[in-house]
C-alpha cells in the first residue's frame, strides 16, 4: 500500500502536450479513476507512473519517494493492460509466475504464490493452458492474477474491461472492486467509460487535453462539476446548459421534469417545445428546445417511465427545475460559480 503522486508532470510528444502540468495524489488504498475522452493524456499519465514513459518535466512520487528516474522494475507496481499482454508462449502458471521469477523468489514459494493467486481468481484449472486457449474473461483473470501475485504497492489498470462483452463487463466490474477492497492496494484505473468510473472509483479525476479538470468523488463530479467540460462529459445524456446573462445555467436531464410532477414552489419554469421522444424502457428521453429563445437552446429531459404524463412531439409543455438542482457556470471561462444555486 502506498500513495502515488504526480507533481507538475509534463510530457511532450514532439510539440503535442500530451500531459500538460498535472498534479495528482492517489491516497493510500484508494481506487482512483482517470477518466477522459481518448487523447486526453490519461494513458500517458499512467505509463509515466509505471515508468514506461519518461516525463519531459515534473516528478512521480510513490510512497513519498521520487521514482521519476527509476525503471519500471524498481517501482514495485503491477499493471494490467487493455490487451492483457499475456505472454503467448508461456502457460498460465508461468505467466503468473513471471514477476516472481524476476525477483528471484525460490521455486517452492513461487508455486505457493501462484496457487494463491489462481485460487483468488478461480483459474486453478487453467494453469496448464496457453493464453490462446482462453476466453476473453479468463485472460482478464490471468492478467489480474499476474498483477496481484507479487503483492505490489500500486495497481495500474489500463481499460482492463474494454475487451469484454457488455454482460461480462458488469460482473467483472463488481469483482474487480471486491478484490481491490480485499487487498487494499492503491489502484489507479484508466477508462473512457463513465459508468465504469462512477461505479468503481473512490474518486475520479476527469482529464481533458492533458490537464486535470476536476478530481472528486463520483457524487461531487456528477452533482457539482467544476466546469462545463466536466458537466457535459459526465452523465448520459449530458447536463443541459442554458444561457442566462453572463452565465450558463446547468441542470441534469433527470432534474428537468414536467411541472405537474414537481409542483414545488421554488423552481424555474421553462416552456419546452418537444421535438422527439425516445422510449428506453426504464425511462423516456425527451428532446426539444426552450420555446421562444434565439439562438435555439437544445435541452433534454429524462423522465422515469413511472411518471406517466402524456408528452408528444411538437407539443409545448411547462417543465420545471428546482433551484437547488441548478449549477451556474461562467460563460467566458466555463468555470463553475461557487454558491451555484440560482
Amino acid at each position: 500500500m502506498a500513495t502515488v503522486e504526480a507533481r507538475r508532470l509534463v510530457k511532450l510528444f514532439d510539440d503535442v502536450r500530451a500531459v500538460d502540468g498535472i498534479d495528482l495524489l492517489a491516497r493510500q488504498g484508494e481506487f482512483l479513476v482517470l477518466l477522459g475522452p481518448s487523447g486526453c493524456g490519461k494513458t500517458t499519465l499512467m505509463r509515466m507512473i509505471a515508468g514506461l514513459e519518461h516525463p519531459t518535466s515534473g516528478d512521480i512520487l510513490i510512497d513519498g519517494k521520487v521514482v521519476t528516474e527509476l525503471p519500471p522494475r524498481a517501482r514495485n507496481i503491477a499493471m494490467v493492460f487493455q490487451s492483457y499482454a499475456l505472454y503467448p508462449h508461456l502457460t498460465v502458471a508461468r505467466n503468473i509466475a513471471f514477476p516472481l521469477r524476476a525477483v528471484g523468489m525460490p521455486k517452492p514459494d513461487i508455486r505457493k504464490k501462484v496457487e494463491w493467486a489462481a485460487q483468488m481468481f478461480g483459474i486453478e484449472r487453467l494453469l496448464d493452458r496457453k493464453p490462446r486457449q482462453l476466453s476473453g474473461g479468463e485472460r482478464q483473470r490471468v492478467a489480474l492474477a499476474r498483477a496481484v501475485v507479487r503483492e505490489p504497492v500500486v495497481f495500474l489498470l489500463d481499460e482492463p474491461l474494454s475487451n469484454l462483452d457488455a454482460k461480462l463487463r458488469n460482473s467483472a466490474r463488481d469483482e474487480l472492486k471486491q478484490f481491490q477492497r480485499k487487498l487494499g492496494t492503491t489502484t489507479i484505473y484508466v477508462t473512457h467509460d463513465q459508468a465504469e468510473a462512477m461505479g468503481l472509483g473512490d474518486r475520479i479525476a476527469v482529464l481533458s487535453e492533458g490537464r486535470v479538470r476536476q478530481i472528486g468523488t463520483p457524487h461531487d463530479i456528477y452533482l457539482r462539476p467544476a466546469d462545463t467540460f466536466v458537466a457535459t462529459f459526465i452523465g448520459s445524456p449530458p447536463m443541459n446548459l442554458v444561457a442566462e446573462g453572463k452565465t450558463w445555467l446547468g441542470f441534469r436531464p433527470e432534474a428537468f421534469l414536467p411541472r405537474e410532477v414537481e409542483p414545488a414552489a421554488d423552481g424555474i419554469v421553462f416552456p419546452f417545445r418537444v421535438t422527439r421522444v425516445e422510449y428506453l424502457g426504464a425511462e423516456r428521453l425527451v428532446y426539444g428546445v426552450i420555446d421562444g429563445r434565439t439562438p435555439e437552446t437544445h435541452v433534454i429531459s429524462k423522465i422515469p417511465t413511472n411518471i406517466r404524463t402524456e408528452i408528444a412531439a411538437d407539443g409545448v409543455y411547462d417543465f420545471v427545475v428546482r433551484r437547488q438542482d441548478i449549477e451556474r457556470f461562467d460563460r467566458d471561462s466555463g468555470r463553475r460559480i461557487d454558491g451555484g444555486s440560482a
Binding site: 514506461l52 519500471p72 522494475r73 493492460f81 499482454a85 499475456l86 503467448p88 513471471f98 514477476p99 495500474l156
Partner: protein, 308 residues
C-alpha cells in the same frame, strides 16, 4: 454483383478473372514452369549423369550403376569436404544468428542516422557474392592484408608475426567463415527485425513492469517469441552456406591441399575443371538429402513453435 461490361469480349475477360478454377492454375503456371526448367531439368540430368561415366572429353555415355558413389565415398577428400561444409555452416550460422539478433535489437531502437546504419547493414546482401568475395580476397591478401597492417599499426602484431590468412588451413577456414557471416547477416537481420516488430509493444511493457531486466526480457520473452521466424532465417542461412561454392572458389580454390574444400566446390572442381561430369554430378547429389532433411526438420519445428 459486379456490373459486367456490355460487349461479349469484355464479358469473356471478366469471367476468366472471376473464375477461380481457371485463374489459379494460370497464375501458378509461370512459377511451376520456371522451377521445372531451371531446377527440375538440371536435377534430373545430374541424377542421370551420376550413374553414368560421362566426361567432358567423350561423347559416349554408359550406365555404370553406383560406381561413381563408391569412388567418392572411398576418397579422403570427400570426407574432408563434408566435414568442412558442416563445420563452416554450423559455425557461420551460429555467428549469424548472434550478430543478426544484436543488430536487429539495435535497429528497433530510435537513434539518429538509423537509416544510414540500416543501409550499411543491407549493403553486403545487395552486392554480388563474387564481387564481395573478391573484396575479401584483398582484405586477406598475404602481402597487402588490411587486417595485418592495421593490427601491426596498433601494436597487436609483433615484428615477426604476419598471419597468412588464406595459406594456413585453420586461418583459411576462419576466413571463409567470416565471409559467409558477412554475407548472410543482412538477410537474417531483416528477417529477425520483421519478427521483432510483430511483437506487440504491450508484451514488452508488461515484461518491464513485471520486473524483467534486459537478459530475462530477451531470453524468456523476446527470444522465444521470435523463435519461429529465427528458424526461417537459420534455414535460409544453412541452405545458402551449405550449397555455396563461390566464397571458397574465390578465396582459396579449396586449398591449401584441399583443406578448405567443401562439397559444392569439390563437385565443381571434379566435374567442370576435372572434366569428370559423372563424378561431379554424384558429389553434388550428396547435398540433396542433407538439405531436404534440414528443410523438413526446420519447417516442422517452426510449425510447432508457432505461438500466436
Amino acid at each position: 454483383m459486379i456490373a459486367l461490361p456490355a460487349g461479349g469480349k469484355g464479358r469473356a475477360r471478366w469471367s476468366f478473372v472471376d473464375n477461380e478454377r481457371r485463374l489459379w492454375p494460370a497464375m501458378l503456371a509461370p512459377a511451376i514452369l520456371y522451377i521445372a526448367l531451371l531446377v527440375g531439368v538440371p536435377f534430373v540430368l545430374s541424377l542421370f549423369y551420376s550413374v553414368s561415366n560421362a566426361t567432358v572429353g567423350s561423347r559416349s555415355i554408359q550406365f555404370v550403376g553406383l560406381e561413381n558413389f563408391r569412388r567418392i565415398v572411398e576418397s579422403g577428400t570427400f570426407w574432408l569436404s563434408l566435414k568442412n561444409t558442416v563445420l563452416i555452416t554450423v559455425v557461420s550460422q551460429f555467428l549469424v544468428i548472434v550478430c543478426a539478433n544484436i543488430l536487429a535489437l539495435a535497429l528497433t531502437g530510435e537513434f539518429r542516422g538509423k537509416w544510414l546504419v540500416r543501409f550499411l547493414i543491407l549493403l553486403p546482401w545487395v552486392a554480388p557474392i563474387s564481387l564481395g568475395s573478391i573484396g575479401w580476397l584483398w582484405i586477406f591478401d598475404s602481402i597487402y592484408s588490411v587486417i595485418n597492417w592495421t593490427a601491426r599499426a596498433v601494436g597487436l602484431l609483433g615484428p615477426h608475426e604476419w598471419p597468412i590468412w588464406l595459406g594456413e588451413p585453420t586461418l583459411a577456414k576462419t576466413s571463409i567463415i567470416i565471409v559467409n557471416v558477412w554475407r548472410i547477416v543482412p538477410l537474417a537481420t531483416v528477417i529477425i527485425l520483421a519478427g521483432l516488430s510483430s511483437i506487440p509493444q504491450d508484451i514488452h511493457d508488461a515484461a518491464q513492469v513485471d520486473g524483467a531486466g534486459f537478459w530475462r526480457h530477451y531470453f524468456e520473452i523476446t527470444g522465444p517469441l521470435i523463435m519461429p521466424i529465427t528458424l526461417v532465417a537459420l534455414l535460409f542461412g544453412i541452405i545458402f552456406t551449405f550449397t555455396d561454392m563461390i566464397v571458397v572458389f574465390v578465396l582459396t580454390r579449396g586449398g591449401p591441399y584441399d583443406t578448405t574444400q567443401v562439397i559444392a566446390s569439390w563437385a565443381y572442381f571434379t566435374g567442370i575443371q576435372g572434366g569428370d561430369l559423372a563424378g561431379g554430378a554424384a558429389i553434388s547429389l550428396f547435398l540433396f538429402p542433407v538439405l531436404a532433411i534440414v528443410a523438413v526438420v526446420f519447417l516442422l519445428f517452426a510449425k510447432r513453435a508457432e505461438v500466436t
